[in-house]
Amino acid sequence: MSFLSILVFSPLLGILVLALLPKTQESLIKLVGFLATLPALVLALIAFGTEDLTKYDVVKEWIHFGSDASLYAIDYELGLNGFSLILIVLTAIVSTLAAIASIHIKKEWKGYFMLFLLLEIGMLGVFAAQNLVLFFIFFEITMIPMFFLIGKWGYFEKEKAAYSYLIYNGLGSAILLIVIMVLFARTGTANISDLAQLMAVEDANTPAPISESLKMGLAIALLIAFGVKLPIFPLHTWMLRVHVQAPPSVVMIHSGILLKIGAFGLIRFGFGIFPEQFKSMALLLAILGVVNLLYGAFLAFIQTDFKMVLAYSSISHMGIVLIGLGALNEAGIQGAIFQVVSHGLISALLFFLVGVFYERFQTSTIANLGGMAKGMPLASGFLLAGALASLGLPGMSGFVSEFMAFLGLFEVHPVVAAIGCIGIIMTAVYLLRAVLGMTYGKAGREFAGITDIKSVEFVPVLVLLALIVLIGVYPSVLSEPLQATLETIMLGLGG
Amino acid sequence: MSSVPVSAYLTLALILFCIGLYGALTKRNTVIVLISIELMLNAVNINLVAFSKFGMIPSITGQVFALFAIAVAAAEAAVGLAILIALYRNKKTVNIDEMNDLKS
């Protein structure tokens, strides 16, 4: 077993151990579930520390269709580059923290953790996959556990949420599958770098020709497929339901990592394989980004439930990713990637806090939580910190990413960028409205007998905050590993 | 040799087939439906025998095929009737419209 395989599949060990445990042993199960996320974290950090990422590449023969073994082969190929490595680290961290957050889970811990770990395998695999089919397989593997996690452990309308998650993502993945299969069937390979090369050459030697219009169609399909995941404005409704109905620990994962698969896919495949086509769609991307940003911000403003505020803020923040991508220059794309990571951390933090509140008050509406600063000063403080990070306070990660993304866009489309800036302001407005309403607003309830954030709950909060600040103060912790990836992308874009 | 062209047989067979199909699809009485099916199968036999005698490449195989078709048709009719009898015992009807216990 190679390093990367172990990294990706390490949670499997936890699943096996859990399978053997009796299902009544609550604390033991939770402990095992938590421990099972650690190997991946450790390995991911080790990988983060290495210089030469290519040594982790794994290629093993796996499936080949048709009688010619070299053609139509899907190999088991894992590999890392700067971008995916960062996301893997992010995944490992958020997973571990979400496992801690899962102490609030009230029933069927065994099933929960097994699915949770399966989900982690899927996420790690998605970022490590070097080939489209493998990517798709891991992508779908994330979908099934999510369906169950939402549907079983969620709140009142959990089944509905699970279904809308399933169907939207199913549709997205279906479109993705079409793209993947067309590419695979007509070129005979699913390897991403091979494909990128083949696409770049005119009249490449493939089993079946790929016309320019087909390429454009595939690119658009790819945009839609990942747009569902991201989510881009008209395709976002499922995501609200999930954010509201799923248990907070799951939403940490979902908002923190799963949404990023959309961005990851767009950057990795969209810009990697179809640079020309995406170049021609850049303005569209930027406009979509601005729409997302504004739409999310405006609607977040009128929400009464804090979860909904966060859900719309996610939409809004994903707009920034699109804006960065639409800029088509190094700053923009770097901003987009930064935003991916930063939003992953921030939303994980905020949703963890939501989980903490929900655990204590069984509610997350802003009005009901008013005046929390008195009862739970620490928690309120963290909440405020998270919100500030989210609205892009300098010195925190949100600032870096938003700054770079807009910097990039101002260079190309200043008008669009200017409109987008309204969104930034809005962000500050709605977040502060919500957070201040909760912390200092009119007291919504009695806080007597409510414990503040305690013992193990500190871990995720502090870790996440530390990372947010770290990135904010010292961005090159991300930008250095990203350098190579960015260069490749920029090369593909012809600049 | 023959004053009757092969197309006449084929047309006859086609007409019989269509009558059979019409009966099988529209009749309410299951027995009649089964008989209609037999009619369709017999139309095939006419085809086969006509082809075997007057076809472009006449050969005896057509008649052999017709024999098999007859045998199979008989078996099918037998099975059909047996099932109909079993059904009739339980349901007391041979009307195909009344066979509606199976519905979602």
Partner: protein, 511 residues
């Protein structure tokens, strides 16, 4: 024909058929003379052993060169071997299901028949797989059909069973007539019923009138065979029959019968119509007849997928739902047929194999549950995870595989079909997109079952604590199915390599 010619045939090629025939015959005789109180279950085990023996003898034959005996009416080529393996495995699993089938009423006196009729149906299917003549094809088809008719109605005192059998017979009869009518035209055009000889004659037919007749023949045969496949336009029987028939029979219909249907479809399509030409506007413009028909097949495939998946959404009865699901899967398979790419055989073979395991497995669970609760409503699955977690997980695997989720054999099967559809020229984008879209639609009802099993509490607390006792045979079948579904999902090359090394892509198909 004298003794020497008789002995000169390689009868060994028919060994699997002979074994099945022998076992079926012996069982039927023993059944008549065995004492009444003898438990007929032993017959099931004998039948199962017979199928395994036949499978062993078939695998023994795998390495041989194509054999054609009895004046080319019986062919043992790669195609036949490959699909016979599927048929035998499917029948063996169904037999295991049948062994554990204990309905509450209506089957008291017909236990023995059940087993040997199953074998007779299997024999018919196997004959279809390896016949090189329209007559034997037809006889095999009918042997399978007639056995299935009776099997569907074998619960003699059970009204739904009777009714389903009746509907099956009527629809089947019409379909048979269609097929036969088409075959008669093909015979008329070629003057022979032998497929090999036909392939020699058909390319010489270039007259527009003949092509026209051939077109009619094609549609007749295709429509007739769509009955066996349960695809549009002859799918209407499936829901009723699947619902009314005993569950093992339903499994048999959805697996063995369907596989056999595709076998005969491919045989006829490729040998007969694959060699004819459509239109004769200049020699250069001659196109293959089958290619000319692609659009129509594509239309039917699309209709089948849409009907199957959309109507399935409304179903509450689990067997009925699976009937529509089976229609949908037949539609997916038709996509592979439509594409006519070099991947067609792999795709069909693998998909049918995957479908075999996942569907039989699903039916095993359905049988166990419906028998246990005497309730075929989808609600019977409610709270299964609580009552029998392993069973629920197994069913979950089958459902995911049917829905085509990665990690299961169903996904690889679909992948294979997609490659075929996209790799062919011109590529079938629309058709494949419909297939993918309908797959997503299928999530609704497939995951509906998962929802019932995992999310909902059991509808009623059962008297005996809701414990489900697992009969041995069924348990074995379930384990095999789960393992196969997952193994072929993760390591599909076990099957694909076996296929390619042994059957060489059916290069011997037309020789």
């Amino acid at each position: 024909m004298d003794v020497d010619t008789l002995l000169s045939f390689e009868w060994g090629a028919m060994a699997p058929e002979f074994i099945i025939l022998g076992v079926a015959t012996i069982l039927s005789i023993v059944d008549l003379f065995a004492p009444k109180h003898l438990d007929r279950k032993i017959f099931g085990w004998i039948g199962f052993a017979g199928i395994l023996l036949a499978l062993a003898s078939l695998i023994n034959l795998v390495g041989l060169e194509p054999i054609s005996i009895l004046y080319d009416t019986f062919r043992l080529d790669g195609f036949a071997k490959a699909f016979k393996i599927l048929l035998l495995i499917g029948a063996a699993l169904v037999m295991l299901l049948a062994l554990s089938y204990k309905p509450k009423e209506g089957m008291e006196e017909y236990k023995g028949e059940f087993y040997y009729l199953l074998l007779a149906g299997l024999l018919g299917a196997m004959m279809m797989a390896s016949s090189g003549d329209l007559i034997t094809l037809f006889v095999g088809l009918e042997l399978l059909s007639l056995s299935s008719y009776i099997l569907a109605g074998i619960r003699k005192k059970h009204l739904p069973s009777n009714e389903s059998a009746m509907k099956y017979v009527v629809n089947g009869g019409i379909a048979t007539a269609f097929t036969l009518f088409g075959m008669s035209y093909v015979y008329g055009l070629t003057g022979t019923t032998n497929l090999i000889e036909m392939t020699n004659v058909l390319p010489t037919l270039a007259n527009a009138q003949y092509i026209y007749i051939l077109g009619i023949a094609f549609f007749m045969i295709f429509v007739g065979l769509s009955f066996k496949l349960a695809t549009a336009p002859f799918h209407m029987w499936a829901p009723d029959v699947y619902q009314g028939a005993p569950t093992p029979v339903t499994a048999f219909l959805s697996v063995v019968s369907k596989t056999a249907g595709f076998v005969i479809l491919i045989r006829i399509l490729l040998t007969v119509f694959g060699n004819a030409f459509a239109g004769n506007s200049g020699v250069a413009a001659m196109t293959n007849f089958l290619v000319g028909m692609q659009d129509y097949i594509a239309f039917l495939a699309a209709a089948t997928m849409i009907i199957g998946n959309v109507v399935a959404l409304r179903q509450r009865n689990i067997k009925r739902m699976f009937a529509y699901s089976s229609i949908a899967h037949a539609g997916y398979l038709l996509v592979a047929v439509t594409a006519l790419s070099s991947f067609m055989y792999d795709a069909l073979w693998f998909y049918l194999g995957a479908y075999l395991f996942m569907n039989v497995g699903a039916f095993a669970v359905i049988q166990l549950l419906t028998q246990h609760t005497d309730n075929e409503d989808i609600g019977a699955f409610a709270g299964l995870y609580k009552r029998a977690p392993w069973l629920a997980v197994a069913m979950g695997v089958f459902i995911l595989s049917l829905a085509g989720i990665p990690g299961t054999a169903g996904f690889i099967g679909k992948l294979n079909i997609f490659i075929g559809a996209f790799a062919s020229n011109p590529a079938h984008y629309v058709l494949a997109s419909i297939m993918i879209a309908t797959t997503v639609i299928s999530y609704f009802y497939y995951f509906g079952i998962l929802t019932q099993m995992f999310f909902r509490p059991a509808a009623v607390e059962e008297v005996d604590g809701g414990k489900i006792r697992m009969p041995f045979g069924l348990g074995v079948a379930l384990v095999i199915c789960v393992v196969a579904t997952i193994v072929f999902g993760l390591f599909p090359n076990i099957a694909l390599d076996f296929f390619h090394t042994n059957f060489e892509g059916f290069a011997d198909f037309l020789q």
